[in-house]
Symmetry: D2
Subunit: 374 residues, 4 copies
């Protein structure tokens, strides 16, 4: 069931293994009438694509998506949109010698125990390659949001011990986006970015890897997105983010800092600007009681250091006998997965928001005019 | 839809407002054959009940649950279990004068905008009173887990600036539980607990409130719980925790600390003890690739300081005109909601695990023997 | 899971056993702003209530529903609506002596085998008493439909060998409804109704029971309800109807008669009346490709004769030993369950339509104006 | 949402248009460990394939399925199974001249109204070509069932005015299957089959089409499949069957005949044979209270005559202006869609049963031994 599907009304199902013939995603519930073509999707995929910088895996995947259904005369028809990305640069042979040794921090152990069988080639279904499907579906979601003047953005805010200075998210989101695209690390703080690159190179030289933190925002949200209780906007965002491989933590607004604050410092006071009710501050990060307030959404996601490192590691084989795990020569991995996670976090945020937007149409007996004014 | 429901196979639907006639929860999908009576549920509710200590709201609710369906001759029948808790100590009159003023940090604004109508009495549906339903359903979940030798526990680990020393979760879970129950704060570090109490009293004296952090664990998990990709165990836990009122952050294992670590330090190396494969360390917090490893599950949840404070706050009314928000005299609130969140976090953890346990029965063509040996 | 829940966006969960403390239903996803009170629900329940005529079970249940949540100041708030009906006239003692003998045509065998435990008192969860919850939720659904000028109606069209003349569903639906309410059998053909009553009395005298057929219609549907492929309007109606106890068949439009027709006879030709496109005939029964055409919806449902008959029946006990099944003296049953199924069929039709109405709001990128003109 | 998905635990999502690049289906939730290859699927598709007999559409589609994911070393891995069938013999040009004229009995009107856009080429998403995806997924389902000694079968039982003699479903199912495969019509009554062929040829000569009825059965079911109330086995079957294009009615057991019977005639009396409890007769068709009894499942489905006929039909264009609809010369259609519906009905039956089989694993606290004995 639902393990490979995400969303209620705008619902994607992803499929495919890292070294299979292809990977793909089917979107069921995309509203009809959205202009859409492969360029929309391939532009998004290009940001996530590996092999472009010294700071990501050298695996070369053109990552050209094709739309197989659901679009006619340049517009979505309401039918499921099937997007397929063929795998090209997959070399499974080097995984053969290590297939029975448990790889630290990897899926081998738990997949084999759960299913009794594991497609170990390149990590199979557990590979981060699956996130290309999220980015492809996210590109469709982002286009819907844009139609309603909602924009999302994500960026890198920490790598190892290097923290970027906090971004002013009250800036126009176009400026934010421009800042995040100024370097290969999606880091809007140029000085920090240089230090991050140095840290990554040092880790690579030591055959090691680094963790990192990705922040995300959304501007232009109407008041009312998110359903209270178990489908709070932040609850669905948290699930979305913790479903990304290697993610270990989630914050909305002040996050864990809120635990150390007083109510008088944390409360966002209401005011009215040009007859629009808003809050003076935004410690909450854009929601109240699980529902969007109209203030910018703001949260972040922690990523662990990739478990693939160029050092021999003590382990056992699948039968429990002691064995050393050594990555096969020439194997290709990200030294800091948080970098390539940036477009994935952005995509997951957009997917949650589009679903909330469609769900919100059923909240009232009569549909509010605001929803159709786009 | 699903906004008031939680879970796939073990699915609860909760209902009720803070000042309505009653609140309740219906569990659909509880397996037949579980011994269950009201005492099981009321014992759990007693831990969450307000009015017992100076550190929680003085509202007096006996919180006596009644089981209306689904149990026959002391056992669950597979039919839905309807649990009802009648509200008794509800005084709505004092909310009347402030009903049109937007309450900082509260649901008034977003509920009114989303639905066009808001049951403001005691917070209505947005009240934390709803969490009693989670605890009631969680008590059923915990009893199922216990049948399979799985135990969960939660405790308070920080309040404001006071941090407890980290608990050794490798201890026997019965010891952990005993430690967490040694004081009213569910804090296993007695010295820290005293400082927390002092901090709360100081905040109360200043008419203010404090945030806090709750940790949770589960022992005895089989390898294999959690479905990869979008239903990773930590993804469902994150959604569960962020759906609790006032929660702002979630971590599994090292959480945000992982972002600042190297792979060689974070990786948990495999070993075999008595022919059981396990990891030497547990930085991951009990899952790999979204699936339980058999190691203790470990995570934590951040709670903001309650927004109800005894200080006047600048605000606007529902029409946008400037207004001051002052809590009505005699209104009752938690100075640190993280304390009473402890049994709620524990309940949500148990609910996620039971669902994963049942889902796992469909993972393989033939059912593994381990599942029926309990 | 979902076994006790129905609907996607307008989703009900029902609970309760025939001889338990109460039965109830929780509606999650009812749009906010609908005027609603207990009278709306109790008026609907009165139609289904037993004990009113010689042709239905003499069990006396006042069937007074109470609304426990989700309504404030006379309007729905978007929060779950919990409706509870307390059981009063339940006498379980007479089921004790027969509890181990398999009752022909009843749930005893399959429930006991599936769950290992069976609440046999009055049929427990398998009792048709559960349908009161459907009627209660259906009353809310019908009120929403009425807000959009959609009306539903059901009636009795056959009992045993007596067939009513086919109703002209092109009549105004208020006339149809008036005709169906002219007698206790909900049969708009007065002459047939008399023959049906005679047939039922003859069956009762022989200690036997009779089957019957219920028809349903809906007028005022917009074009576009129903989602193609697996959520076709008729597919969801079929599931809804076959979930009613004792139902054995479902037809939309010509139903099984269509199997014996030619395409030239069955095709409904398009025409335009006052600039509204419609079909000259309505063999299809109101849908094309699973989506409503705007023509009246028309279908019917077959009900088997109740298996509770006043004749000794050969059977076995739960251990397989031969035993005779005899209904306990004074036990109360419907001689023709199709009569009391009429308001249940109507309710299920309304529930499917409301869900389709809300789902349809997500079909297009921009919401069609027609949806908010009500 | 769910409009293109089917099933709870064994859940398929289908995609693709009749004249698009390909059609496909993704199965999420197939248990790991099932031997599976493309031959399994292509053998099933061959039965449904068009162009083989004079009684079905002459469109030539090799219908070669490829498995793109979810299978490794010849076995399912628990990951989603993506099956793709490329379209080859699609000629869209002939649909161009008639694209604005409403086609009687077809999707043009309702799709255009619902979505504002319609991929009219070959019927687009509304084409019965989508049923190839059902058959492909059904082949996987049938293989799982076979592992548990459950077999399903479907056959043609009526065409126009020709009714086959009723099949004795107490026969061994291998015999039933052999009988249904003895001719191109899947009709086990050889004499009736000849008459059906004659009737179809006469209809084709008159430029007309015929309806028909398909029956289905399943042997070897354990007691206990199906969840009571809203997920009754027959309810899910009814939804499954009414989701097949052109279906208009559904019966389980005696179906509409039950409406004209007495309880004493319809009740199936319990007996025990070789210590196995069963019923002497099987009027119910294999379920009681929505749960399988272990007796053969038996039901049938009515199909309307195809609306594509070789006669000019009066209609209107999309703007409502009078227009005549004439099928383009050389267009290819089934004269009696019930024939090719036979493997589709069989597939839908298997899909419902596999889902019920997996759901049933969560019914009891401890899993019954019977489930793992296969």
């Amino acid at each position: 069931m639902a393990s490979n599907a995400f969303g209620n009304l705008f619902r994607l199902t992803s499929w495919g293994e890292s070294h299979g013939k292809a990977i793909g995603v089917v979107i069921d519930g995309c509203p009809a009438g959205l202009p859409l073509n492969t360029d929309d999707i391939n532009a998004a995929l290009a940001r996530r694509a590996p092999g472009k910088t010294p700071y990501t895996t050298p695996r070369q995947e053109a990552d050209i998506a094709e739309i197989y259904s659901g679009v006619f005369n340049g517009k979505t028809t309401g039918a499921p949109i099937s997007i397929i990305i063929f795998n090209k640069d997959a070399d499974s042979s080097k995984y053969e010698p290590i297939k029975n040794i448990l790889r630290p921090g990897h899926a081998t152990f738990t997949y084999t125990e759960k299913y009794g069988i594991y497609d170990y080639r390149g990590g199979g279904r557990a590979s981060a390659r699956e996130t290309a499907c999220r980015v492809a579906a996210g590109a469709v979601a982002k286009k819907i949001l844009l139609h309603f003047n909602i924009q999302t953005c994500a960026w890198l805010t920490a790598v190892g011990d290097v923290n970027a200075t906090q971004l002013n998210i009250d800036m126009d989101i176009t400026q934010i986006e421009r800042a995040t695209l100024q370097n290969d690390l999606f880091c809007p703080d140029a000085a920090a970015a240089q230090n991050m690159q140095a840290a990554i190179q040092a880790a690579m030289a030591a055959g090691d890897s680094l963790g990192g933190i990705v922040a995300f925002t959304a501007h232009g949200l109407p008041v009312g997105l998110g359903d209270p209780v178990y489908e709070k906007l932040e609850a669905n965002l948290a699930r979305a983010m913790l479903s990304i491989p290697a993610s270990k933590g989630f914050e909305i607004g002040e996050g864990f800092r809120a635990a150390h604050m007083t109510g008088s410092a944390h409360n966002d006071l209401f005011t009215a600007k040009n007859n629009v009710i808003q809050t003076r501050t935004n410690h909450a990060g854009g929601t109240l009681a699980g529902i969007s307030t109209g203030m910018p959404l703001l949260g972040c996601v922690a990523f662990k250091p990739p478990s693939s490192i160029q050092q021999p590691q003590s382990s056992v084989d699948i039968a429990g006998a002691a064995a050393e795990f050594v990555l096969p020569p020439g194997s290709r991995h990200d030294p800091c997965v948080a970098i390539r996670a940036v477009p994935v976090v952005d995509a997951m945020c957009a997917l949650v928001l589009v679903d909330a937007l469609l769900m919100n149409r059923a909240a009232k007996l009569d549909i509010p005019f605001a929803l159709q004014d786009a």
